[in-house]
Amino acid sequence: MKTPRTARSFRYTLIQEIAPHVEKKWADAFILKLRTASVAGARIGSSLKEVDSHCAESGSSAVEAFGNPERYARSLNLPVEDVGRGSLAPLAPTLLEIVGMVVLTWSCPGLFRGQAFVLTTGQVLTAVLLAAELAALVLGNRRAVLAVVRHPVLAWLIFMANMALMVALIGTFGSSLARLHAGWSAGLGAALLLGGLAWNLLRRRAGKSGVDPVVAPAFTENQRAVVVAARRQAGVASAVNAWLMPLAALVIVPMEWALR
């Protein structure tokens, strides 16, 4: 099998291999509905393959035989994963990394200049805003995922507006709230960042990375190759998730050193 180069083309190939007789739009809506309901990827793939099998043998379309994909997905009443909606467990290590990254990058300028870390009102407001947003994202993750998929441009605009708001908060509210030893706060940030990374890697090793690809029973060589590729891509995604913040810190901290 020719390996697809991009995630998008890979996903298309995956659906084509699992369900070549099902309308792509129907398959997309079916997968999204079950995905956001925390159903395991293997179970989603198996259900979709059964739809494909029926469509191939009957010659009817998925819409004709199964009706609305979301209603059909609900009617299957498939069991959800142990880690269900609103659970912090899969995201907690990454959230820890984010907090560590923020504390570290805020502390480093003072550390490199031999000054104290001055905590400003703007930073506290930004941290509170960030924490509230992350909590809302975790608690309503199904709706958030659906909203981003259905309105990607709007989601991107909201993300950029949010970034601008955070920068504005830090720039506007510069009054000092507390002075901390920059070495201690940078050390705390680095410890949180590395602790989050270690936690992420341990979860990954235990097979709880939170990345669960949609796969289906494979009978042909192509189908087996797609399953292998899907698992490999899930591994890459989980590695990126674990290493993104530490790698970003490795870029930002030297920049702060250069600009001290």
């Binding site: 198996s46 739809v51 099998s53 029926h54 009957s58 035989a65 199964f66 009706g67 059909y72 009617s75």
Partner: protein, 148 residues
């Protein structure tokens, strides 16, 4: 023609599970073949959106066991086979259904042929019903008895 166009949906809801179990009891089978068998039996075309959620419930309850097998030329097929639990469920359900069908038929179509007439006659015999309208009896009496 869709099953729900052939028979009222509420009737199908009551009978479909036992019908599916009976088909699977004959031999392990897959969704499309089960639907085809039901259609051929006169039940009408059962939609995938009705059949597969039912099969999923039976699987979750341990009434059927599943196995994916490669299709002859097309895609793989998910085969459903009756388990021991399923066999007991079918036997008990079929016996109850037969009683229920006899009872309802005798109530709804007491003068009709087949099970209804037999059921009604049996009930009348059991109840010792004596005085009857001779015209009505003529329609329910065996042919030999109605001859001059």
């Amino acid at each position: 023609m869709d099953a729900e166009e052939v028979w009222p949906a509420e009737w199908l809801r009551g009978a479909l599970e036992l019908c599916v179990l009976r088909v699977v009891a004959e031999a392990p089978s897959y969704g499309y073949a089960i639907a085809t068998r039901l259609a051929e039996s006169g039940l009408g075309a059962v939609k995938g959106g009705t059949l597969y959620p039912l099969l999923g419930r039976l699987e979750a309850a341990g009434i059927v066991a599943v196995e994916w097998r490669a299709g002859e030329s097309g895609p793989g097929r998910k085969y459903y086979a009756l388990t021991e639990v399923g066999r007991a469920e079918l036997d008990a359900g079929a016996a109850r259904w037969a009683d229920f069908a006899r009872l309802t038929t005798s109530l709804i179509v007491p003068d009709d042929a087949g099970g209804g007439r037999e059921g009604a006659a049996a009930q009348e015999r059991d109840a010792g019903v004596g005085d009857r309208d001779p015209d009505r009896d003529a329609t329910t009496r065996p042919m030999e008895e109605t001859r001059p």
